[in-house]
């Protein structure tokens, strides 16, 4: 049906500006599904910076989100009463559609990167909190007893026994949170033109296929690569988890 759209566009007049890029002209003018030449000639001025911004947005959100959730999880691990309130709080944040949460923050923090980051962070909380708590709770009482028997203090037990054993679950949480943030950060570009959502929003208004297909594919690739990298880190950092699975 692409050609129908192209025909519609051709009839509507020159909606697509001349983007240049050598042999790309005919493909761009036809508004083909993906014009490789156009993509290549705009890699360094559009896609590469957007990709780097996207990674930065994601890294900040995961970093701060992790710090908050980790502290909350440790608190909930020690004081069980704290778990339900934080679960409900982060659950509500998680349920609010991203497009709405970004806009709800605009009156308070304006059209800024802060707005985008606050929303992105709020989506990581539930996943990171829940996985950390579940990971810590999963440590068996015998192991904890043994640590105490060896003369470990509570802090030592946490740092040297419980957290390492909870690491696979925590990393799995980071994995899911990272992929979620990568996806939602594209929507944040509606607030601030930053990251791979920028080309998507720009192209949706002009109907220029290559630009949004490229950005969409790059976002997906980024998510897949990050997912695989964290899975790899999980294997390297917690070899015992793999052995357990093999059993």
């Amino acid at each position: 049906m692409t050609h129908v759209l192209a025909a519609k566009l051709a009839a509507a007049g020159p909606v697509i500006p001349n983007f240049g890029g050598g042999g790309a002209h005919s493909c761009v003018r036809r508004n083909g599904f993906f014009c490789w030449d156009w993509f290549r000639s705009h890699w360094s001025d559009t896609f590469q910076p957007a990709l780097l911004d996207h990674i930065k947005l994601t890294a900040i959100a995961i970093g701060i989100g992790f710090a908050i959730s980790f502290a909350a999880a440790l608190l909930a691990y020690r004081f069980v009463r704290f778990e339900t309130p934080f679960s409900i709080f982060s659950g509500i944040l998680y349920t609010i559609p991203s497009a709405a949460l970004f806009q709800l923050l605009v009156p308070i923090t304006g059209l800024t990167t802060t707005t985008v980051e606050i929303a992105l962070i709020s989506y990581t909380l539930l996943i990171l909190f829940r996985n950390t708590v579940v990971g810590l709770r999963g440590v068996s009482d015998e192991v904890r007893e043994a640590a105490r028997g060896m003369g470990f203090t509570r802090a030592q037990t946490l740092l040297r026994v419980e957290l390492p054993l909870a690491a696979p679950a925590i990393l799995a949480g980071v994995q899911i949170a990272a992929v979620t943030v990568i996806s939602l950060a594209t929507i944040g570009a509606f607030i601030v033109d930053e990251g791979l959502g920028g080309p998507i929003f720009r192209a949706i208004t002009t109907d220029f296929n290559t630009e949004f297909v490229a950005a969409a594919v790059l976002t997906t690739l980024l998510a897949v690569v990050v997912y695989a990298l964290i899975a790899g880190a999980q294997r390297v950092l917690t070899p015992w988890a793999r052995r357990e699975m093999a059993r």
């Binding site: 049906m1 692409t2 129908v4 599904f33 993906f34 339900t84 679960s87 409900i88 982060s90 659950g91 509500i92 998680y94 349920t95 609010i96 559609p97 991203s98 497009a99 709405a100 949460l101 806009q103 709800l104 605009v106 009156p107 308070i108 539930l126 996943i127 829940r130 996985n131 579940v134 990971g135 696979p168 679950a169 799995a172 949480g173 994995q175 899911i176 992929v179 979620t180 990568i182 996806s183 594209t186 929507i187 509606f190 959502g197 998507i200 929003f201 192209a203 949706i204 109907d207 949004f212 297909v213 950005a215 969409a216 594919v217 976002t219 997906t220 998510a223 897949v224 997912y227 999980q234």
Partner: protein, 237 residues
């Protein structure tokens, strides 16, 4: 609180006024959004549930069922909608296909895990009682797996209703028409729609949580997960 804070309070106040003045318009848009979401969930249920149940019943395809959910998670919703736009053009079809693609993974994986995880001894007992495979699936495995199956439906439903908001960028109709059109509705209107759509998502979540409780056999009630993405909290990497 400085001038900026006052400005924010005023915007939220105006947003509430907007809701009061435009109730029927908002309800109209809500109807459109729910229609689109309902269609998408319906189509995904028809595709995902039989496959998931069947794979779970024969205990095969674990790799497939889990991978689908992992890949699904990596798919950026706006990206799927954008690529759909390039293939199908602006409109209902593109949006419906995109939402179905996004809803399939949690449904399929949960249906699989729900049935696959049913206690094998219970299934053996049923077989010993002379039940046919279909009877085992429908009368033993399905009731026992229902809470987890429903958890998947709930995750998918909330996800679809939320994503349908973005779908208005690609020609789907709904509350996104207001949220993404500040030029027409001004900031109070946009904020009003954002409040409205948040309430809608929470209502859908709540309704499905209740439904999930109702379909859960009394003996399994304590296992029903709380608010948020249901199912196993720890991902199988």
């Amino acid at each position: 609180m400085g001038q900026e804070g006052d400005g924010a309070m005023k915007t939220f106040g105006d947003a509430i006024t907007f809701i009061g003045h435009n109730l029927s318009f908002l309800l109209d848009k809500t109807g459109q959004q729910l229609e689109l979401s309902g269609a998408a969930i319906g189509v995904s249920l028809v595709i995902a549930i039989p496959i998931g149940l069947w794979l779970g019943h024969i205990h095969r395809g674990a790799w497939f069922a889990i991978s689908v959910s992992n890949v699904g998670r990596a798919l950026p919703s706006l990206g799927v909608i954008a690529i759909g736009l390039a293939i199908f053009g602006l409109g209902f079809v593109n949006v419906l296909v995109a939402l179905v693609v996004l809803a399939l993974p949690p449904l399929l994986t949960n249906a699989y895990v729900a049935i696959d995880g049913v206690d094998r001894e219970v299934v053996e007992a049923a077989r010993g009682m002379g039940m046919s495979p279909l009877q085992i699936l429908l009368r033993v495995e399905l009731p026992l797996g229902l809470p987890l199956l429903f958890a998947g439906i709930r995750t998918a439903a909330v996800y679809v209703v939320a994503t349908a908001t973005i779908a208005s960028l690609a020609g789907g109709e709904g509350l996104g028409d207001i949220i993404f059109n500040q030029a027409s509705y001004r900031l109070p209107g946009v904020v009003a729609a954002a409040i409205w759509v948040s309430a809608l998502a929470l209502a859908v979540e709540g309704a499905f949580a209740l439904l999930q409780r109702l379909v859960t056999p009394a003996g399994l009630r304590h296992r029903v997960p709380g608010i948020g993405p249901a199912g196993k909290p720890v991902d199988i990497g």
